[in-house]
Symmetry: C2
Subunit: 176 residues, 2 copies
């Protein structure tokens, strides 16, 4: 079903593909499609294991005497490690191509990213960081992740995703 969706989106684009098309290729009914996914876009965002949990785990496991920023960055690095275990760069690139081509999908991606940011913030607060600081740090970490992911997918580098995170984190430090 997920495969059917990715195929069709790749072939004819997201907008030209109806929910019925996807269901048909997957051998089910449109109705069952909507029982599995809240809406048509969600097909592309419902892999196993959410970014949220990965990041939260990473933050929780971060070094005791690290700064808030170091803790969240450890969190997104952890997420990066777990992510490459599930998806190849090739798959990620295909997915990115589809998402970038459709505003509606970009929107959904931003929502997922915001959810991850909120999870990171909550995890920081859990570890005793103040609210405003946690929010700022979480957003910074999200920026690092996004920068790293974009670079990784672009193919301009041979680095793995976690190494790209390290690189982006270093660039962030240089902002000051």
């Amino acid at each position: 079903m997920l495969d059917a969706a990715i195929e069709l989106f790749g072939e004819q684009g997201f907008d030209k593909t109806t929910a019925g098309d996807i269901a048909a290729r997957a051998g089910v009914t449109e109705r069952t499609f909507f029982r599995h996914f809240a809406d048509k876009r969600e097909v592309l965002f419902s892999g196993p294991g959410s970014l949220d949990e990965m990041v939260a785990k990473g933050v929780a496991a971060a070094d005791e005497d690290a700064s808030p920023l170091q803790m969240v960055i450890a969190g997104v690095r952890q997420a990066a490690v777990e992510l490459v275990a599930v998806r190849t760069r090739e798959q990620a690139a295909d997915r990115v191509r589809i998402v970038e081509a459709t505003p509606a999908l970009r929107e959904r991606e931003l929502l997922k990213m915001a959810t991850m940011t909120a999870a990171a913030q909550a995890a920081l607060v859990e570890r005793g960081v103040g609210e405003p600081t946690a929010g700022l740090a979480a957003h910074s970490a999200a920026a690092v992740f996004q920068t790293a992911f974009t670079r990784w997918v672009s193919g301009d580098t041979d680095l793995g995703l976690p190494e790209c995170v390290d690189e982006a984190a270093a660039a962030l430090r240089d902002l000051y």
Copy 2:
């Protein structure tokens, strides 16, 4: 039309309000509604003067020998100044209440924010900042703006929006 929409969303919520309802209260047809707004959500995001332009203007006007981060923050501060000239805190709070209550609207808001971030990044690049640095700085500035805006709207402070931006910018510096 915009007023009709805000009223109805406040009264019965976004989901329970059809595009036809809004049009009817505004004394026009549903079809005309969709000629003015790309979709139902867009009503809440199509005020006069976009954040993008304000930020870009602010970045362009920033001090010559400022750091990239200082430039973008000047940009969002400029946007803050122009924004309070158009909307009262009360109006902003009403709008926030509606948006927060509806995932679909949160999504759209995130898209607008991302657009602003992209504009900020482009403005930085325009002033000679390197791509990755510009991206990170723009995201940081977006985080500052969001933090400031949230605080301003919350009513926990008597500060104006621009002053909240200053406050958040100071908190960002303290991350290091």
